[in-house]
Structure formats: structure tokens, C-alpha cells
Symmetry: C2
Subunit: 245 residues, 2 copies
């Protein structure tokens, strides 16, 4: 028996998110059926991050166990011949039998993309949120500074989330603009449900001038979802990578 | 009667190119039917550049004549409510009655995108060509220098093209890399049929080491399509903009 870890990139547009759901096509269901076809075993992958419907990834991680003789690094090639083009296994590697990326310290990097122009751009429509309201990224960066470090992010989490603690540590939060495309890059050791999308929705309110940058600090202090801005749409979000520490 | 010029961006994936073709859905057919719906007139746009099936644009241009009272700048808003999301009219403006962007001196900028990695990236799959062969952009830039200036580009044009002269002037040719994404940026006053895709296919042969950079100069001198590299796939090409001089 061996344990293999996959690095998976996907366009979330046509999937009901990562997680298995009855009767829905998800990234997990696609990987399970491709692996079962290749190995003849009944394989279920276990993922590091359950991305929502419509969210994209350049490097999500998952592991599975197999009796197959195929070396770990060959799984990526074999899987990519079975999977749709909107899912690619960009790396596969054998790991220790008890290794799991969800129960290991990792740093996750997310990018929330905004196309900031009068009209949407067809070439970015699947991978960014369109905002026709001009956004000032200097103000957004000032607001983002309040997020760095260890804080209670309860205000930036969806109300139905049930977790032991809402304290998380953000290691980077930076906003860049290249022409009409704005990228909100956020990294940290762990994230609450919808956290990056609520942070992005709140930073957009800062960028438009609706909130002063200091409001981000006040939202944190409020520990109340109602204090924060709206949850930004799923299609703007990409899980860029998960770094194992 | 007024003449209106549209700046049109589109994802070419789902269209049979720009030009009207019986029974095919094209960018031109979509614009014509949207304009006819809005104005009640039988309107046919006339474009600056007939992009091929699968080629994308951020700023193609076209003009049309209308008796409608709507001011020129309002057409973009009206059209975007009728068009599919993969076509956006990003600008509309009234021009002189005899103005036509195809019969005016313009500088066109194209970008050919290559995703250069072992496996394709789902998020770039529609807008780039995947090459798993490592490409050296320093060599590609050396090869591209031979293209700058006025030359007979007969070798870089599809054999069935019938034009008076195959002499064209290239004003810029530069290759950049950002991570796995390579961009071949080419601008000039006019292009032959498939010219940018044959140049890109030839520069990829330089990048892989199959051709030395000097071969680009030899291909030009040969004035023979057979001397050049393959025509790179359509989906990697984007008409970035057309600048009216």
C-alpha cells in the first residue's frame, strides 16, 4: 500500500465545488472516478481544502491510498488522460502513509481577481469579478494591513460555520493592479469558511470609498459577520497554492 | 444618418471567427442581430480585422451606419444587454461618415500566449497554447529582432492568401515570460493571413532550440511558406488593440 499526494488545478466554472455531493459533479467525484478507472480499486481522495462551487484552484492538494504498482509520479500522467481539460493533476508524489495535508501545518495563498472597468472583459469573465466602480488600491492596501497577524476573524466568516475557534493568522495581504485587473493576494495558516471572499467584499468597499481603511480594524473588533462587507462572488477566487511547512 | 465605431472584445472559443458565414455563429452575425434588434434597422457591421475561428480579441474595431436617434456612446450599453457574455462592446463612438478603420492607417498589436509547463493549466486552457517543451525566451527575442522593420513576409503567410504585396512593416516584436506564461507581443501596420500564428510557430522552434535565432532571417529571405515553422494554434492568439494613426 502506498499513499500518493496530488496537486490539482481546476477551472471551477463547471463543478459544484470540491466536495462529494449526491448527484452533483464535483472535483472530488471526478478524481475518484478517474483513479478507480486507472487502478481498478475503489479509491476516495481526501482533500486539503474544500473549495466552494465556482471557485478555482491552481494548486489544491489531496491524498489517497492505493495498492497499484504504478509509481507515485506516474499518476499525474495517467490521470490527465482520463480527466476533462478543466481539471489537471499538475503533480503527484508518494508521501508517508500517515501524511495528510489537512492535518499538517500549511500556508495557503489565495488570489481574488477583480476586473475593474466600465464593461466586463470576455477573456477574464470566468476568472474574475467585474466591478465598474473605480477602486483605489492604495486605500485597499491600507485596509488590508489591519488583517496581518493573529486575530479573531469571526466577522469575516459565514454565520453557519461551526469551528472551535475563529482565531486565524494571516501572513500576507497585498493588493496589486495591472491595467484593469486587480489582484487581492492573501496568505495565511488557515482560513474560515468564506473568509477570503468576505475580506475581498469588504476591501472592495474600502476601494470604492464607501468604508475608510480603518473600518477593516473595526470590523475585526466587532466579531460580527453583519459588520463586514458582502461575500464577493465565487468566480473571482482562486486557491493559488498550499505550501507544506 | 450617423456612422458609429465599436470597439469589440470577445472570447473566440465558441465562434466561427469574425466573418459572416452561412449557418455559422460568428462575431459579426451576433453584432448584426443585436444591432438590428436595438434599432429596428437591417444593420451590417464592417470590421477592421477578420479574426479566425478560435482567435480572441480585446479590441477589434468595426463601423456601421444607422438612422437611430441613440447617441453613439450609448450603443455600447444597449448592445451589452443583448449580447452573450463572451462578447462585449467596450466602447462606441460616432465617427465621420466616410471613416473606416480598415482603410485608415492603423497599428495592430497581437499577443500570442503559450503556457510552458509539463501539464496544461485549466485556467489558461482557453486563451493559450500549451507547450511542454521548455522554451528559451532569450533565443526567441534574438530571433524576433529579424522581424522588425519592413520586409517581404511571404514565408510567414498562408499559401492561399491572395494579396497585392506581401511586404509589411513590423514595429515591435518582444517575448516576455511571467512564470509559466510566455507572451509573444507583435505590432505592425498590417498583417498577412495567419502571419502572427506562423511567426509564433517559428519562434517556438527557436525557443526549443530546433532553429537557431538566425533562421528567422533566413526564413524571411526564402519567401516560401515551406521555410517557416508550423502555424501555431488559434486559441493562443489575441488581437489586443488597433490604434488609429
Amino acid at each position: 500500500m502506498k499513499r500518493v499526494m496530488l496537486t490539482v488545478a481546476y477551472d471551477g466554472t463547471n463543478y459544484h465545488g470540491w466536495q462529494l455531493q449526491d448527484g452533483q459533479v464535483t472535483i472530488e467525484s471526478e478524481l475518484n472516478s478517474a483513479l478507480s478507472r486507472i487502478t481498478g480499486e475503489d479509491i476516495k481522495v481526501s482533500g486539503a481544502s474544500r473549495t466552494d462551487a465556482g471557485v478555482h484552484a491552481k494548486g489544491n492538494l489531496c491524498v489517497f491510498d492505493s495498492e497499484a504498482r504504478m509509481p507515485g509520479e506516474k499518476f499525474s500522467y495517467a490521470l490527465n488522460t482520463c480527466l476533462n481539460e478543466d481539471i489537471r493533476v499538475v503533480d503527484s508524489v508518494e508521501v508517508a502513509d500517515d501524511f495528510h495535508p489537512r492535518f499538517t501545518k500549511t500556508e495557503k495563498t489565495y488570489c481574488y481577481r477583480i476586473y475593474n472597468s466600465k464593461f466586463a472583459n470576455p477573456l477574464y469573465r470566468l476568472y474574475s469579478h467585474h466591478s465598474y466602480i473605480p477602486l483605489n488600491i492604495d486605500l485597499m492596501n491600507k485596509g488590508a494591513e489591519f488583517l496581518i497577524g493573529e486575530h479573531d476573524f469571526k466577522s469575516f466568516s459565514s454565520v453557519h460555520a461551526s469551528v472551535k475557534t475563529t482565531v486565524r493568522q494571516i501572513t500576507g495581504a497585498e493588493i496589486k493592479r495591472s491595467g484593469e485587473l486587480i489582484e487581492i493576494n492573501i496568505k495565511g495558516y488557515g482560513f474560515l469558511y468564506n473568509m477570503v471572499r468576505i475580506i475581498s467584499g469588504s476591501l472592495m468597499e474600502v476601494g470604492s470609498g464607501k468604508y475608510p481603511p480603518e473600518r477593516i480594524g473595526e470590523i475585526l473588533a466587532a466579531r460580527d459577520r453583519a459588520a463586514a462587507g458582502p461575500t464577493a462572488p465565487a468566480k473571482g477566487l482562486t486557491l493559488e497554492n498550499i505550501r507544506i511547512l
